[in-house]
Symmetry: C2
Subunit: 138 residues, 2 copies
Amino acid sequence: MDVREDVGERLRDSGYRMTEQRRLVWEALHSGRHLTAEQIHARAPQVDLASVYRTLALLERLDLAAPVQLGDGVGRWELAHADDEFHLACVRCGRVSHHASNTVAQVREHLADFHGFVPLEVDLVVHGICAECSALAS
Amino acid sequence: MDVREDVGERLRDSGYRMTEQRRLVWEALHSGRHLTAEQIHARAPQVDLASVYRTLALLERLDLAAPVQLGDGVGRWELAHADDEFHLACVRCGRVSHHASNTVAQVREHLADFHGFVPLEVDLVVHGICAECSALAS
DNA sequence: GTATATGCAAAGTCTTTGCATCGTT
DNA sequence: AACGATGCAAAGACTTTGCATATAC
């Protein structure tokens, strides 16, 4: 699953060049999830913000990274991963965790079986109060 | 379910004033779903764009309208509705439809029962190919 | 009459683009 | 050596804010 070593190869295979900037952005993406362009830039200050955006767009085209919309209107990015994971966003502490389940698969089946809609990407974000914050509040 | 008549009352009850601009935005929201601020402004040209934004923020505070994130990075709005409806966005023709099912309820239960996370809002958007476009492609 | 809401214009934020230079292949 | 990628700065899209005027109550 960790393709950190051969991004260069992957890029070259697709006709792109491997550069220090792209490597730094790629590494930054490994340091967290649902990161804003600004956060990635903070983790790779040598890379111009414009290049961060350009690199993210490229990685998206190659299905190596994916944009995330948590509903706060801020553009966020993370490494591509199976979309049977979804986000749990705590409205109290702001932390966002990932959660894997068969829920997304169920949604897919439900749609395909009954409605003729062919699901490609399922984006599921649940806002609520995480276990830690619930405990504090009681 | 149609509270069109008593928005004024609702506003006044909450300490706000009923104005022609707010009425126009409110009506515009009834003319479609997942509308951008620009689209609402087009449907109510007499209302300044800034007031459109201010009114939408107010309606959101009163739970009369809700922002929608379809994943295209564009801010969209619609009348508040039960969140067991979710969006189906066709990546081919761009049309977005609403779909109601118990899927969202299942997600809520799943989380509450097993993970201590108290779900508040569930945002589910499915990107894919609608039945019409599937038919055309075959 | 008073306080809130509006219009207009300016400022903010986030993202994209143009272009000369640099660096990978 | 050639062409793609980068930095920098400017432009763009979208949204918010300040302030004087208008308006609901």
